[in-house]
């Protein structure tokens, strides 16, 4: 019940295209859903996060869509750039668990020039 399932495992997009990564969860206690970007040899960097009281959050080219009834959330990267090539992790946490993050398995995004 603690799992967060992420898909696809890898994604190749042309420059300027839209990258979409999906995550699903089962634990209804989760109430915070961040996305992290990780480059090789670096730690994950917080990109954007959403709480379940809203269905969408946008920051620049990055948008989170959240469907509480389906227990799914997704990251959309608009106008994808080669510099966006990295591994993306969705995560979730619950207020009653000291906010420990449960991560998805990651999506390796490659944006072709």
């Amino acid at each position: 019940q603690q799992q967060v399932k992420q898909s696809p495992q890898s994604l190749i997009v042309q420059k300027g295209g839209i990258s979409i990564i999906n995550c699903a969860y089962e634990n209804t206690a989760f109430d915070y859903f961040p996305w992290y970007q990780q480059f090789p040899g670096k730690g994950p960097a917080l990109l954007i996060a959403i709480r379940p009281d809203v269905s969408e959050k946008k920051e620049g080219r990055f948008t989170i869509s959240f469907n509480k009834s389906a227990k799914q959330f997704s990251l959309h990267i608009m106008d994808s750039q080669p510099g966006d090539s990295a591994t993306y992790f969705c995560a979730a946490s619950a207020s009653g668990s000291a906010r420990q993050l449960t991560f998805g398995s990651g999506t390796q995004l490659t944006v072709l020039p």
Partner: protein
Amino acid sequence: DAGVTQSPTHLIKTRGQQVTLRCSPKSGHDTVSWYQQALGQGPQFIFQYYEEEERQRGNFPDRFSGHQFPNYSSELNVNALLLGDSALYLCASSFDGEAFFGQGTRLTVV
């Protein structure tokens, strides 16, 4: 403002040895969590420290222990190292739920 800093960056240890990893949290952050990230996988929660006490623990054996100091910095100790402990060890500091990660310590056990 320095972010989360971890030391050392890389470390090679022999099976059976003990290792200590260190973390300095982001300024103003009072909570430190440790994660283990195996190659090609998402980070796995080890434990979290708040007010110098272990507040939450993930599914890791007692060989993994930690400490938090009054200045909120933290250490992760791993005893009796196994080959399977080879991973990137990440420290995250947080305040009000938002977690920021350091660059990690790459531990290789040979």
